[in-house]
Amino acid sequence: MGIIKTNEAFITTRLDQIIAWARKNSLWPMPMGISCCAIEMMSFAGPRFDCARFGSEAFRFSPRQSDLMIVAGTVTYKMSHVVRKIYDQMPDPKWVIAMGACTSTGGMYRSYSVVQGIDLFIPVDVYVAGCPPRPDNLINGLIQIQKKIARGEKPGQSNKVFIPENSFIHERKTA
């Protein structure tokens, strides 16, 4: 139980909840931009889609300072060792978004050189569909990670989230 004093009043909360609240609103992504999905990831960071609204504007090019890896692109067997090394260098708790078809399943590269899904060598929390996914879909992936953190889930657990293509448009139509 932690107590936060303000000038006029105070709020009571649980320590792990306030840590989770802080964590989920300052997810610093490690941009693992390997191919064309990286362009949409840059758009997700840029002013139009603006992931700063979700506290994720600080893309860290050092894995030591990031806690969310967005794997954006085709991961070959040769690259898989690099992805794993960077994942290993990130401090816990660390989260992984598999962005796009190639990253999640190998996509159209059904071939000897491409890993058929990065969950073969690192734990993935959210899969985002699309080739490439629209930036708003990646924002939805980020929100799902935030929800996971708020619920107190551990990263890499079984509760995977699969985001279909154009998920926001579908939600708007059904709402």
């Binding site: 067997y77 898989s80 090394k85 059904r110 071939s111 050189s113 073969l120 060598f121």
Partner: protein, 160 residues
Amino acid sequence: MKERLLNKLNNHFKDSIESVSEFRNEITLVIKKDDIVDVCKFLRDDEELSFDSLRDVCGADQFKSENRFEVIYNLYSLKNKFRIRLKVHIDEQNPHVQSITSVWPTANFEEREVYDMFGIIFDGHPDLRRIYMPEEFEYYPLRKDFPLMGIPGSLVLPRK
């Protein structure tokens, strides 16, 4: 340009040229394997022809019992704005051909690529290593008898 080129080559390398073919104004010459460096050197150094740019070196697997592989050189003359294609047939039993890195240094990476994908050995190449696949990979992926999804266990993933 075409006639001048063929005349010159016929004068100098009559025995080296196996065949000449033309398709949609693209000239393809099949050269004897042992003479490829000399032909390339002549095409580059001749004042009039001046094929100064090696645009690409690639391989092909025809999957035949003899002369299974081809190495294809695409040349371009900046002076004459003219392209030709040279081909060399290579047998599976003896997959060796002379490197042309001494003529055009840009052939270095391209010959490494052909070596990586087809297993053709370029004699005289300064640094013949694999360029795409990992060093310890044992197969040649663009050969026709290599399965599309690869050979299980030949490429290792990191531990989970």
